[in-house]
């Protein structure tokens, strides 16, 4: 189980708890003082990230795709920031 803390420049603080299997995400918990609307989307996003390769651009595009398709808005961090924080937890 890995973890990380990443302060987004000009944004909020991200804290990650990460379990990996092989070179994939087994389970990720995204925490922090950011805003997400609607809030309930976060657990769906964490679910969507299961099985994604531990590679910054893959994680980023999965998150960006999830946000746009679900109409979810994140404030204080962007998909690249979350990907960075997750990779820091590896």
């Amino acid at each position: 189980m890995g973890s990380s803390t990443y302060k987004v420049p000009g944004g909020k603080l991200l804290k990650i708890r990460l379990k990996t299997v092989g070179y994939k995400i087994e389970k990720v918990t995204i925490m922090g003082d950011f805003f997400l609307h609607p809030e309930d989307a976060l657990s769906d996003l964490e679910e969507r990230l299961k099985g994604v390769y531990l590679e910054s651009s893959s994680i980023k595009s999965v998150i960006a795709d999830f946000l746009s398709k679900s109409g979810t808005q994140i404030i204080g961090a962007d998909p690249a920031d979350i990907a960075t924080a997750i990779m820091m937890a590896v």
Partner: protein, 255 residues
């Protein structure tokens, strides 16, 4: 002028405070009660964390337990806040989505509603301004933190305005590794956060801040505050939300 129900200062537990905010939102959605501005304090003192924060990551629960300080997860995002019984006043404003004060742009929406806090501080003689994303600052220091959720066809924004600041207790409640609590860090917080009493250099009473907040929201938002009360149904709903959600580890420790 639009009328908004005004629930004047109440003193309640952390569980009931957060449950009431949600109960009012649900009641507005159901069309049972009008848009509402509510002022409250927390007794006992409590720490609230943002809905996405990890409780044990942010809060020293042992310290809280020893000192009779409550802990609760909010419905809103944002950061951890220490609600000292004597050191702050919290507001919540809950509006249906079709209200003229609701903007679909979230940052703009913070700005519109935070104008109530800015005006309240102005009434007290403090020159403050909104600082995106969700703060109100004076002289570059944070004096009010705010958080918003959009659910149940409503916007709910609540926020704290600091009357006083006890940095030592704040650091004991919030989990900062012991080795990091150096004099320098405490000094840093003093340079980033301030309070009404610190800025004005006098013993401003809770009542004075409460009156300013009511007047400030009324003036800045162009709303007529009509003194009201919680309905029996709202109180009943809040009590059941305490039972099922805000009073339970399943919610408070869910992350």
């Amino acid at each position: 002028m639009d009328e908004v129900r005004f629930l004047d200062l109440e003193i309640r537990s952390a569980h009931m405070n957060m449950a009431l905010d949600e109960a009012i939102m649900r009641s507005i959605q159901a069309g049972h009660v009008p848009p509402t501005l509510r002022l409250y304090r927390w007794q006992p003192s409590a720490v609230s964390i943002g809905t996405f924060q990890g409780m044990t990551e942010e809060v020293d629960l042992e310290y809280c337990k020893r000192n009779g300080i409550d802990h609760i997860r909010r419905l809103t995002g944002g950061g951890a806040v220490y609600h000292d019984y004597g050191g702050e006043v919290t507001y919540s404003i809950i509006l249906p989505n079709d209200h003229r004060l609701v903007s679909s742009d979230i940052i703009e929406s913070y700005k519109i509603l935070c104008a109530g806090v800015v005006k309240a501080l102005d009434i007290l003689g403090i020159d403050a301004k909104f600082k995106p994303i969700n703060d109100v600052v004076t002289g570059g220091k944070k004096i009010s933190g705010n958080a918003q959720t959009r659910r149940r066809s409503c916007v709910l924004q609540h926020g704290t305005t600091l009357l006083d600041l006890d940095v030592e207790v704040m650091f004991s409640v919030l989990k900062v590794p012991q080795e990091k609590i150096s004099d320098k860090m405490i000094e840093d917080v003093r340079q980033r956060v301030t309070s009404v009493r610190e800025v004005l250099g006098r013993e401003v009473g809770v009542d004075e801040l409460v009156v300013a907040l009511g007047d400030g929201f009324g003036e800045a938002l162009g709303i007529e505050l009509v003194e009201g009360e919680l309905s029996a149904a709202e109180i009943e709903l809040a009590e059941s939300l305490v039972e099922e959600k805000y009073g339970r580890d399943e919610w408070n420790l869910s992350r």
